[in-house]
Symmetry: C2
Subunit: 543 residues, 2 copies
């Protein structure tokens, strides 16, 4: 790289929605932007988390000047504790973002020495050859920031996760003004959030959601149980306002909400007046149902969350019954639909009425729709465009959108994790991509899961396992996940007879015999049940 070159390398979030992370580097300095996790499908063979591949960062360790965090969602900060095991960059972020990160880091004493640097909107920070300004954006979490990064190749704008809300927030009108100012001065590269590019038009504003929520709460005959992401502070403030209006007391249930709301109150993102509606969960029984509102976790039907417990009749404070109105003020995240459906069905079975995105305007995404994405591109007027945060199809569509706004096709780069784009002398080109292998994590990072282990778990899950042991005192057969109690004895007996017959006639070497035991056992079950289980053939004596 020449001293004035700029290299862009996405390490997460380009090719999936989740685990966002990217690197901007010059010859001498590098910035990491975000460090998030992705959650696997509910039954991904014991995988708890998926992280970006950090190996490239280890290589450029000496150049890294900072990790910039755009906001406090898990897919932007969740992998920080894992990154800190590898490198320990200075971390910059807004006050709410850092507060969430702090609660996360406090769980592990190794992280006490981490350098956390709070950054205000419009504050400029010098980091090696770069200087960075944080730009306030609207998103489904408070205190989210886009980035304007001055580089040797000119200004790079990163929208971060954003939407353009037509309304106002805490009395201030929301505008794109800062982005427009940069656009006027000239922007080399725009990195923009692609999550909702498939949605035409503009997203609803938070004020419209407020109205719908108020309409529902006005009619509610008994308790209102409001479920929401624990980071959606603005939505919770709205609901507290509605509670005040209808003279309801509010109880918070669920660990992450009980943690985050006090932080938000403390930092002024929830007003003191709104906070006055809150009561302690111990006092819940002293409030009449029609004067009670619960704000709780569990909108994704997460097992053991507050709402999930209620739907199972297992919550210690709330037993759902006729007259309870439940509001799921959140998206059905792909992969969770079936679990959420089950949760809603169970709430209905217990007598609740349920409101959710599909039947009422009780939620709107924090990500810009196509029309808003256009507005952003038009405001920034970049020379080059790289769509970020999305699956491949989202990135392609966002690229098409940019093209429709007259950005030439060879100035648009649809990239995936590990791709590298070099900006040099006002031109851009693709370099050879990095090898890239996301990390699969089980049990809070104690183990890195290898792909081969995952494959074996998949096989086990489909067919179960049979253990065949030939020892000095004969043949022993054990199985798990293959036979039900009713048939176990008789089928195992027949398999044993079959294998003994086969062993009598054979003169194979040990290794051939082992393989043949495996094949014979699999064939037996294929005939018997139509499946070929995983088999351990074990020879403890010579044949």
């Amino acid at each position: 790289m020449n001293s004035s070159d700029l290299l862009f390398t996405p390490l997460g979030g380009l090719g999936e929605i989740g685990m966002n992370m990217m690197v901007l580097e010059s010859a001498s300095d590098a910035l990491i932007i975000d460090c998030g996790v992705m959650f696997p499908d509910s039954r991904d063979y014991g995988v708890d988390l998926i992280l970006p591949d950090f190996s490239y960062l280890e290589k450029i360790k000496h150049k890294i000047r900072a990790l910039l965090l755009t906001h406090g969602h898990e897919d932007h900060i969740g992998a920080v504790p894992y990154l800190l095991r590898v490198i320990k960059p200075k971390i910059y972020g807004s006050s709410f973002t850092l507060a969430l990160l702090r609660t996360k880091l406090e769980e592990d004493h190794r992280h006490l020495s981490v350098s956390l640097n709070e950054t205000k909107p419009n504050q400029k920070i010098k980091l090696g050859v770069f200087s960075v300004e944080f730009l306030q954006v609207t998103h489904s979490i408070v205190d989210g920031m886009g980035l304007a990064i001055h580089t040797p190749q000119g200004t790079v704008i990163h929208t971060a996760d954003f939407k353009i809300d037509s309304g106002s927030y805490r009395g201030k009108k929301i505008t794109l003004q800062k982005f427009q100012e940069y656009g006027k001065r000239g922007v080399t590269l725009l990195l923009s959030d692609s999550t909702n590019v498939e949605h035409q038009g503009k997203s609803l504003s938070e004020e419209q959601i407020h109205q719908e929520l108020e309409k529902i709460c006005r009619k509610a005959p008994g308790r209102i149980i409001f479920s929401v992401f624990a980071t959606n502070i603005r939505r919770m403030e709205q609901v507290l306002q509605i509670a005040l209006k209808f003279k309801r007391r509010v109880v918070l249930l669920g660990r992450s909400i009980e943690t985050n709301v006090p932080i938000a109150v403390d930092q002024g993102f929830i007003g003191a007046k709104e906070a006055s509606a809150l009561i302690d969960s111990q006092d819940i029984d002293e409030v009449h149902p029609e004067q009670l509102m619960v704000i709780c976790t569990g909108s994704q039907a997460e097992e053991h969350s507050a709402l999930w417990r209620m739907s199972q009749g297992e919550h210690k404070h709330i037993r759902i019954s006729m007259g309870d109105w439940v509001i799921l003020s959140s998206k059905f995240i792909p992969g969770n639909e079936k679990a959420i459906s089950r949760l809603i069905n169970n709430l209905y079975r217990r007598g609740a009425e349920v409101f959710y995105e599909k039947v009422a305007n009780v939620h709107i995404s924090g990500h810009a729709y196509a029309q808003e994405l256009k507005q952003m591109i038009e405001a920034v007027k970049p020379r080059f465009f790289i769509p970020v945060h999305g699956e491949y199809r989202h990135l392609v569509r966002h690229g098409q959108l940019a093209q429709s706004l007259k950005i030439p096709p060879h100035h648009i780069f649809v990239c995936e994790n590990g791709d590298r784009i070099l900006f040099s002398n006002g031109k851009a080109q693709r370099l050879e991509p990095l090898e890239f292998q996301p990390l699969l994590i089980q049990s809070e990072g104690k183990g890195r899961l290898e792909t081969e282990v995952l494959k074996e778990r998949r096989q086990l899950s489909q067919t179960g396992v049979v253990c065949v042991i030939k020892s000095i005192d004969g043949l022993h057969i054990y199985s798990r996940g293959v036979l039900g109690e009713a048939e176990n004895k008789s089928v195992t007996k027949r398999l044993k007879e079959h294998l003994l017959r086969f062993l009598k006639g054979t003169k194979l070497s040990d290794s051939d015999l082992q393989e043949e035991l495996r094949l014979q056992t699999r064939r037996f079950f294929k005939e018997e049940l139509g499946i070929k289980p995983v088999v351990f053939p074990i020879l403890l004596v010579r044949s």
Copy 2:
């Protein structure tokens, strides 16, 4: 039961979308309506199919006069081959429904003697005390039928799966006239399809979809690859019409489409003129891309389907490249979203442009929206109402809809599989529900999967399995789905040392020793990897 009583028992489809089946019976006679399967999530531990519990039908075997099939979708006819192993009722259905059933039954020679009775719309059949009239309805398959059943307690109307298309089909205007006529004469009970009750307003008409498809096909620069359910004959006829208009030749790819289209042509559901656009897949290379259209299977991203192979670059006739436009004219069925997303992403990676439900009006459901459901209730004006075909929340919402149309709450029964409603002397009451356990089928019915086996597979899939054998020549350890190659040797060695140390000091009885080996092994892995694998502790010599 008294001789004039009527008993309604749903055995499938009330509490889920899929495996539809219900029974109507008098003291002397019984009718089964539909006999469908449900498909599990893609990774449901080796489960291939889920079927209704047939045990109640075995009990009332002597009374069963017929199995009535409303249409040919798998969730209405897919379980017939399994039912025929238990009872062999006379089967009644429309010509296309029976044609699909026949191809299914031909796979198994045991079913050659089954009595299949073709029924025309408006034809009346006498079956014991019942008489049945088949009523033509619009759905996403041709030749679908609702039912009007005359019973000792008056008329029962079963809408079957339906929508009210504002357009016409094969020149005939679609109306609710027959349902209205019954409504005027008086209907005791309406059973109506709840699938889409969450959708407000009216569904788009097939003509609107036709227009959108035509618009896309007009602009397509190269091949058009059109993916659709193999039973959506009307949609395929529309696409053939569009192909004729733009002078494209059409190739069918995928086994079920290649089977069903000739049947539809033969029975007159696809016109001879439209069929003239078809060419043999062998001739595909003789047609220019801009004159070619492919109709293929795989809209649900089913592994090994035609479209899936294309997305993987593995199809023998089609290699996707720039200029190919792919249309997924189908729903993202819950549970399949992630697989469909991956398929679309892969098609984009190969250079295709892709159109799907989320970004274009290329599909509309075959199930009525709320407004259409209202129209049906208003047409039939039933005394009693039972919502069918839906998850619990759909049934509740459909019940609420009926209530809003002045059907009194105590005349509306939200039921689940196994519930029983008795109609007697113009009154209705719930009886004690049946025990109900759906059948889980692996490998085409060779094995019934017990719930306990499923549970074991779930455990195996989360943690893998370790086999610990204590034999005369020492300790042997084998594992699968626990350790990657890199760590296998060293971790296994440490476990062995740990267990040998433990064995030295112990004087436990065999059974206690076995249990303790299990616990020690699990504890070791909990420390080591944070997981507790399934363990087989095997003692081959006395301690």
